[in-house]
């Protein structure tokens, strides 16, 4: 093995029932580099990482590690840890019932008897050095998600690893925390650790990475130096085609004309829920697309959840088309023609074991009532219609939704709400964690629906997406609406300033 190479994966094959998830993938990681692993959803990034960390076995191929002659056998995450590969996963893989210190050290201490005093002291020292606001003796479940993620990172970093894998660690972190993480990554790079970084945020890749490996459909596309691969090219490599879709969409943008004939669809006054947001006012007109923006945890999801009655509403008035309505639970909102695509697809959106068909008809079925089920023929017809309309890629309408890719799952949820023929559609992070192709599809769909007269609220972490689709943005900070931007104000720098509170 060459001197500066720390990890080499050669010709990795992995087959899941019915899917060739990895087909002859090579991957090389050098000492002291941050290496981005990029690809659409379903490209095989996560599978490759899980093969490397011993979560999955592999059908074929070899893994070589620095300091070991010949291929190594990694059968479990424990093996991987012992060989100096530590990993931070997108979903937090810590135990909420244990204390912070226990989570830091469990599974990697030697000896049978534990020295809690030393462990707690070590933990406090590490957390302090990383400025993580948590105590060693605290139960992990009482920390916020972002803090938990930072603790997971602290654990991985503390393991004296040769290879550090960060699989989308930034999705629950705010900007400051991401900065902290990047500083940490650069420090580790300087110490010679090889870091594999998986993320959907292109900006982050260009900020910290040295090299990019692109995967597509379970195959290796190529490995590139970061300087030699401009953004547009990276996206085109990930998609496997020259994309002008992204530039296309800009042409279609029609700024909404909030003229005299604007008809308000929903007006809310002093709305507040038990999720900890300050009372806010809100209105949306027929055919308008607006958005809530702000950092994670700024309360943007909580606002739309309050409108839909997903959290317990504790005060405020809501008018639908001028008439007073009471929205206490989701069903009330649905009856008033509101639809809500939730932020967390897996937890709040899909009903995993049910078929694509049942997932599509679910909401409309509930509206129709307990004693009036759709006949099988009706349900099939509806399912076929929406599968075609939204170009959902599924083996059949009887396939359980959980076996679809993330993007297609999201389309099924969109179909579910479109089928209720809402007047007002709320999309909370519809594009998170899904591939670029579907992202563009969804943005186009939003604009089309609005042009047909539907009101849409669109929330996304990616500003350029919001700018492309929304004609009005409500900016949230610290669980409070702090500004409303329209027209010319809709540009990156103004939005950033408003989010950051730079106007003061």
């Amino acid at each position: 093995m060459e001197d500066n190479i720390v990890l080499k994966m050669r010709n990795i094959h992995k087959i899941f029932p019915g899917v060739r998830a990895l087909q002859g993938v090579d991957f090389t990681l050098r000492k002291g580099e941050i290496h981005a692993l990029m690809g659409e959803n379903g490209a095989g990034k996560s599978t490759l990482i899980k093969v490397l960390t011993g979560v999955y076995g592999k059908e074929e191929g070899d893994i070589f590690l620095d300091g070991t002659e010949g291929p190594v056998a990694i059968h479990s995450p424990q093996d991987a840890q012992n060989m100096g590969i530590s990993t931070v996963y997108q979903e937090i893989t810590l135990c909420p019932n244990l204390t912070v210190a226990e989570n830091m050290f469990i599974g990697r201490t030697k000896g049978t008897v534990q020295n809690w005093k030393k462990m707690n002291a070590d933990t406090d020292r590490i957390l302090q050095s990383l400025e993580v606001p948590a105590r060693a003796a605290q139960q992990l479940g009482t920390c916020s998600l972002a803090v938990q993620q930072m603790i997971a990172i602290a654990r991985a970093v503390d393991m004296e690893c040769k290879v550090l894998i960060l699989d989308e660690p930034t999705s629950s972190l705010d900007e400051q925390e991401v900065e902290k993480l990047f500083k940490l990554m650069r420090d580790l790079r300087a110490k010679g650790v090889g870091i594999i970084f998986v993320t959907h945020f292109l900006e982050q890749v260009y900020e910290v990475c040295d090299r990019i490996t692109v995967m597509r459909d379970g195959k290796l596309v190529g490995e590139y130096e970061i300087e030699n691969l401009p953004r547009v090219q990276l996206v085109s490599k990930m998609l496997g085609k020259e994309v002008d879709d992204l530039s296309d969409i800009k042409g279609e943008v029609k700024t909404f004309d909030a003229g005299k004939d604007a008809v308000p669809v929903l007006e809310a006054e002093g709305l507040v829920s038990n999720a900890g947001i300050k009372p806010f006012d809100f209105h949306i007109n027929k055919g308008e697309v607006n958005g809530f923006t702000g950092l994670l945890g700024s309360g943007r999801s909580e606002c739309v959840r309050a409108i839909f009655g997903a959290d317990r509403v504790t005060g405020g008035k809501v008018k639908m088309k001028g008439k007073d309505v009471k929205i206490a639970k989701p069903l009330d909102a649905m009856k008033n023609g509101i639809a809500y695509l939730p932020e967390d697809r897996k937890v709040d959106g899909i009903v995993g074991d049910l078929s694509v068909r049942d997932n599509i008809i679910l909401a409309q079925q509930v509206l129709k009532g307990f004693f009036k089920p759709f006949s099988k023929a009706e349900a099939n017809k509806v399912a076929d219609e929406y599968i075609k309309l939204l170009n959902i890629k599924t083996a059949s309408k009887d396939t359980p939704i959980k076996s679809l890719s993330g993007g297609n799952q999201q389309k099924v949820i969109v179909a579910r709400w479109l089928f209720t023929h809402p007047e007002y559609l709320i999309l909370d992070e519809p594009t998170r964690g899904i591939d670029v192709g579907t992202k563009v599809d969804i943005q186009k769909l939003v604009l089309k629906l609005a042009s047909e007269g539907m009101s849409v609220t669109f929330i996304s972490s990616e500003l350029d997406e919001m700018i492309r689709t929304c004609s009005r943005l409500i900016v949230m900070r610290d669980r409070k609406a702090v500004g409303e931007l329209t027209g010319d104000e809709l540009n990156q720098s103004t939005i950033m300033n408003t989010i950051a509170g730079g106007d003061k």
Binding site: P330, A363, G369, P373
Partner: protein
């Protein structure tokens, strides 16, 4: 070439579908038991016609025993399947609740007198009172599970512990005996009809639940709640209410089973009535291939599962296994069944088969 391959995969596909069908395991188990009996002692299948002590024409034989004695279990399996689907847990209090329901029926019929000459109330009234009581207890379990978020097995442990005591308390620990022959119809035979009544009651329950599954959204709602409660809520469902509803339905099943049970002996023994039936009911659901963690379910498979258990019990009795030793044999069968249907074991065998096929192709 391509054509032949297609044919191959499609035939393999239909095989796979058959194997994947939820009813496959319980039906296979039933067939296995039938074949075993056929080989060892074909008289198992003999049905004889005769007259019972009351002079009524009755059919008798092992098969009749199975459909007769399996009735309560099948009825309970219906409710248990729904509870399992919606709440991802099981109700272990059904045996104790049957004792309560039975005790209520007797209390209403006897009006506090342990040896009444005539019934103090019509049977239907007693049954309806028992239904209300059993549904209330079901609702109690349901509220603990749905609103207090206590795991079903633990929440129902309360009633499991207290149930038989409550049943004894209702009748002041007396053991009333009903002498009216009409009361025995529900657990025995209606004069002139040679097929035992419990079977008709069980069939009626199956038809009702079949219609409910067809003409309401019972299945979609319970499954959605069982698979993803949070998502179900955001689609306008009320998961708590639906969970309570399944427990109330189970309460109704309990009342029906309780009526059959007390009718069989025209009396009650608080510590023995429906003993361990909760375990059999849960087994029926599991044998039907339903995940005990909730979600998708097959009602038919559960009901067949109930009859598999009864078939096994009857078969063992027939070969002279004493009632007290029965559980040991049941356990062996259950273990064999769960091992065969365990995903890991199946996976292991399917890869083994694949490897052998590959070798065959190479050769």
């Amino acid at each position: 070439m391509a054509n032949s391959e297609n044919v191959k995969t499609s035939s393999a596909g239909s095989w796979k579908n058959l194997l994947r069908n939820q009813c496959f395991i319980p039906i296979a188990a039933l067939l296995l038991l039938a074949v075993f009996n056929l080989i060892v002692d074909p008289t198992f299948f003999r049905i004889t016609f005769g007259y019972n002590s009351a002079g009524n024409p009755v059919l008798s034989g092992a098969i009749i025993d199975i459909i007769n004695n399996g009735s309560e279990l099948a009825i309970l399996a219906i409710g248990m399947t729904l509870v399992t689907a919606a709440s991802g847990g099981q109700d272990i209090s059904v045996g104790a609740a049957i004792a309560i329901a039975g005790s209520v029926i007797l209390r209403v019929l006897c009006g506090g007198n342990a040896r009444p000459e005539t019934l103090e109330a019509p049977i239907i009234v007693a049954f309806l009172v028992a239904c209300v009581v059993a549904m209330l207890f079901g609702a109690f379990n349901g509220v603990l599970v749905a609103y207090f978020k206590i795991q079903p097995m633990i929440a129902t442990l309360i009633l499991y512990t207290a149930g038989r005591s409550i049943a004894a308390w209702i009748n002041n620990n007396e053991l009333p005996v009903i002498s009216d022959p009409k009361f025995a119809y529900f657990g025995g035979f209606i004069p002139g009809i040679p097929i035992p009544t419990p079977f008709f009651i069980a069939v009626a329950c199956m038809i009702v639940v079949g219609l409910a599954l067809k003409f309401t959204n019972l299945r979609l709602y319970t499954q959605s709640v069982g698979i993803n409660q949070s998502s179900a809520r955001l689609n306008g469902l009320n998961p708590e209410l639906i969970k309570v509803m399944t427990f109330v339905i189970l309460g109704l099943c309990v009342a029906v089973a309780g009526l059959i049970k007390v009718s069989r002996v025209s009396s009650i023994n608080y510590s023995v009535i429906a003993k361990d039936i909760e375990m059999d009911a849960i087994l029926a659901v599991a044998l039907g291939g339903n995940a005990l963690s909730g979600g998708k379910f097959s009602m038919a498979a559960s009901i067949i599962g109930a009859f598999v258990i009864q078939c096994l019990t009857t078969t063992l009795y027939k070969y002279g296994v004493p009632a007290t030793a029965l559980p040991a044999y049941k356990a062996v069968v259950v273990i064999l069944l769960v091992i065969v249907s365990a995903p890991t074991v199946r996976e292991y065998f399917s890869t083994l088969v694949k490897k052998m096929k590959l070798k065959g192709e190479v050769a």
